[in-house]
Symmetry: D2
Subunit: 347 residues, 4 copies
């Protein structure tokens, strides 16, 4: 941590900083420049955080040098982690395809979506029973009925389930059915929800906030980790920018950046990033090539009747190309497609 | 609603749209251009929403013409609303100053902050007991103990309380103490929380999402209104942009824009917008001059020891200038400062 | 300047930095933390800039502490400057209204616009002869014919002229007619143009880049100042964000921030910020209240026939309110409206 | 084009629009909804543009349906174009590697950089002689001396030259030496420069504006095309967002989006996007996988002494991996690496 003094700071202002740091058990190194003085701090950064250094007289800026996240940081955990979801690995060496319908609407639609996904190479099934919607008048998911549909389809296909939870009061219920709990982009800083899923004993996928920084995303993961749950997967899903040709702007660089900062697996959601069916396959190729540990894709047997996000779902006509690319591309980056599980592994 | 056909759309694609709209009880008007055909839709927009028009063959774009919010819209409610918080009005004609410490830390600090606020002209007391923090290691508020402190200070000063709630499970508890429930910027799309405060029977203040559009903000208010609670105040608090000189970028235009679209009162938070004490008074002046129905300001008797957001709190030395400007500026825009209540009005 | 070493940096990496800095005539102070070491640099920052410190082995980050602009900085020039345009002051103590049509289209339209502006309290006339347009097919201004119209209107009204120049090859021509040269938002980093206007011997107004930081804006001013021309006025005109309700997002905080960092006057363009006529007066009030040294406003006698930006121009019906507020509001912030000049002052 | 009337629009307001459109030789189709009326326009959009429809009474919005660019649009030119630079193709079927130093600093450094680039598979040499720099105190390139160095290296290596021009007054000079003229991100809306390079008779590469929309980027290309020069290549180089972990946010989706809207080739600059050497290879893989027609990469024999952008240059140690991936990856997306030219082809 570095304290930058203002040009008009006095010697007593500098002495004050040195004394405060010393009283907190740290050491302060003073470097005097022509216009400004800086003070380098060594010691327990948590204790420095309570000193309100920025509010002291003569202080112009406080620059944090080390990361505010610890458990998810790669600094003390150099090896990248593998998270297992119902036995299916997500992590280095593999490329895991997660696919399925945006929402579980009917048993038939969900099963058909799952079979499309599995045929294309998916080893995990995505599908929503609780949907966060901008409008209170829009379809909000089937709730527990949707979870039951997903569980039935898991029994039929052997694919573990990834599904979203949007309310801390529902975590227990969702965790009964799900193999992985998904935190959506609008809830990335719903800290009560993060703590609840941290306590639920199931792997967690955290989407990046719609305008969240990579650091904030890692802090959200830290909230889960702090409850003792390190089975966390990060999912880049596009950020909000001024560009309106796509629903969001896929920040493809976030994958290698987050993988360098954290040991957690990082996957990509090309469906919600672009919000357009015609972009899903190109963005999937980009995600695999950049080194993502997996991708999560919307598919729908009949998107023209979908109750949610139909325009971005892949359809039957796209499946052959998807199946081919998830086989062909991972080896170019030293990975192989994660095989589908033979039978259900209890979540 | 307007459906824009792709240049390569066929007659049968166009006929399909017309038929779908007709089957949903609407009318479709076809306009054929040189390169493109557009179809204008008349009828029940909610029903059209289920048609997945964007997913139909030959459709290039679907342009919504009318607003997706209804209860909070000014279209059917031309007169601007007044929301009363423990008897204190927020709305047209007045300018209401809400002030107090960011967090209730101790009884003494909260009382001192409240007295500073009241002396400057504040009629409502702000103060947090539940604080959403980016880091799980940061101070998260005193919880119910903080609420009790706030209630004691209300009894002493007569100022009704505005306080944040961050978890749907806490709404009942917070509503027992608070006169107005505040939804923070990170929870603006926490729809379960919005519904819970909609049911709580207390006025609600909704901060704009950190990167929320004005339309999304109004949709958040619609969630509360849809539960039968129209006592909603909107609070602009700066949005996230690339500019790093300020904590957020105060979108001052959002005040007149939201007031034109919605009948709800709109206030401004100059403290969190700038994140810098030296900007609070200039931004307060801008907010009043642009026509805000109120401002909400952090004050702290000893910001150098504040556990939360110390750098942006006004201090004793700023109070005289604040007191003067909240008296002098409102009349220039046809308003007057809302007077402090004589005694406690039950929330 | 502070060099932050990576956790894995070796002693020899640190020694290398110290040696490089020493060879460049500076001093390096090493502070060793638990995880990281930082090196504080004292000396000639320009020389350090050529060392490519960021590219050295073991370096994680280089944090600049002092501002990269010098001539326009307030650090060595505490008193805020007044820039005079044809005798009309822009700076502290006054609030200067610049108004006129977006483009000079005809002699009659320009004169009528100027008379509207003057009647409302404007002391300077704005009007474009060279217009930068996104489309090559849009009206690009009348060129020298437009400049002649502006000069005739100046002779008639006594109002000095502010007009844009978009091409370094035109600077000499435009400077023959104009009293102040305007650099538009798309040319804020057209460095050849900045140098050319720096050499032209006329005051310069620099609009903020459409997505320019405040620091980049000051660097653009530094380009002009470095050619010996310190008669520079900064103009905030809204920045590009994700919000689409307004053409741009007026960054009202940029006014006090830039005034604190630089001694140059800072004005606001409420017309291009909002892009909507109904926002011009509210944003003008906000600009004056926040402490702007002036505002620049589009007016048009017949906006329904305007060749450029008609939707944002104030019209006859708005003039009485504008005239009243530019008189009433400045005294509240310790300023007075700059009076219109009695007669032409040679530019 | 669609005109959306306000809820309060009268019949005479609607009649006025119909009459205006008719007088301009177009047809207007009126669709009356419950709350609003919309008017669909058919005819010459250029003529409608002069009607100032948005400024008419009762008009709430004007929605453009077709693209404002024509010559570069794919609507009337379905086949994707190939642009040849000194004989080297950029376009569908191939993947062209452009590489070299950010700036030509010395003959030796430039030649070494070119040889590194060629060995890795580059067929075109990048290198700057005129550098746009944020600070007037930073290295601005060697000017004509730099061009001579580049020409000498072309003679030695056979690689045609891509180099930036920043001032319309320099276009003739630069075009004497260069095989392709590059327009940098800060000059994407320097329309005088775009027109000048449009007249210069050499292929042009246009970087996307730092915060430019895809539509604005295509309009910049339209400026060049309108002067009769259709040899234009678009280059995505990252856009400005709130995320600070990377210098810019590479908008990888922009590649397929722009290729769908325009017939022009689209390439990617992974060096300036990330601004970090460790991201260059991952982003290069993403660019090739998404379907880019080429990539342009900074390489430097000794980045620790580079005068410009050293931290993002690939070095000797990266070259083997680059060489391998530009061979291995293009076939996966149906392309092959463009071979280096045998000998100099006159630019």
């Amino acid at each position: 941590m570095v304290v930058v003094m203002a040009p008009e700071a006095t010697e007593s202002d500098i002495d004050n900083i040195v004394a405060l740091v010393g009283a907190a058990g740290g050491e302060a190194f003073v470097s005097r420049g022509v216009n400004r003085t800086i003070v380098g701090l060594v010691g327990d950064i948590e204790r420095f955080g309570t000193l309100n250094l920025r509010g002291q007289r003569g202080v112009s800026d406080v620059v944090r040098i080390s990361a505010p996240y610890k458990l998810v940081s790669r600094e003390n955990h150099a090896e990248r982690s593998v998270v297992r979801v119902g036995g299916v690995p997500i992590g280095p060496g593999t490329m895991t395809l997660i696919a399925g319908p945006c929402a579980a609407e009917t048993p038939d639609q969900t099963l058909q979506g799952a079979l499309m996904a599995k045929a294309a190479g998916a080893s995990l099934l995505r599908g929503g029973a609780f949907k966060p919607r901008t409008s209170p008048y829009a379809f909000q998911g089937l709730g527990e009925a949707g979870l039951k549909i997903l569980a039935d389809v898991r029994a039929e296909t052997g694919m573990p389930i990834v599904t979203e939870v949007v309310d801390a009061r529902d975590v227990e219920l969702v965790a009964e059915y799900a193999d992985m709990l998904q935190i959506g982009t609008r809830n990335t800083q719903n800290f009560a929800l993060l703590q609840a899923v941290g306590d639920a004993g199931k792997p967690v996928m955290i989407k990046r906030g719609m305008s969240g920084t990579i650091e904030e995303w890692l802090m959200s993961a830290e909230y889960v980790a702090q409850r003792g749950n390190l089975d966390v997967v990060l999912c880049e899903r596009g950020i909000r920018t001024y560009e309106k040709a796509t629903r969001n702007t896929l920040d493809i660089s976030a994958v290698p950046v987050a993988q360098r900062l954290s040991h957690l697996p990082v996957i990509v959601d090309p469906s919600h990033s672009g919000g357009r069916r015609d972009l899903v396959l190109p963005l999937t190729r980009a995600a695999i090539a950049v080194g993502a540990d997996g991708v999560i894709i919307d598919v729908h047997p009949h998107p023209e009747t979908a109750l949610c996000d139909g325009p971005q779902a892949l359809v039957h006509a796209d499946m052959a190309e998807l199946a081919e690319l998830v086989q062909a591309l991972p080896p170019v980056v030293g990975r192989r497609l994660t095989p589908a599980p033979e039978k259900v592994v209890a979540g």
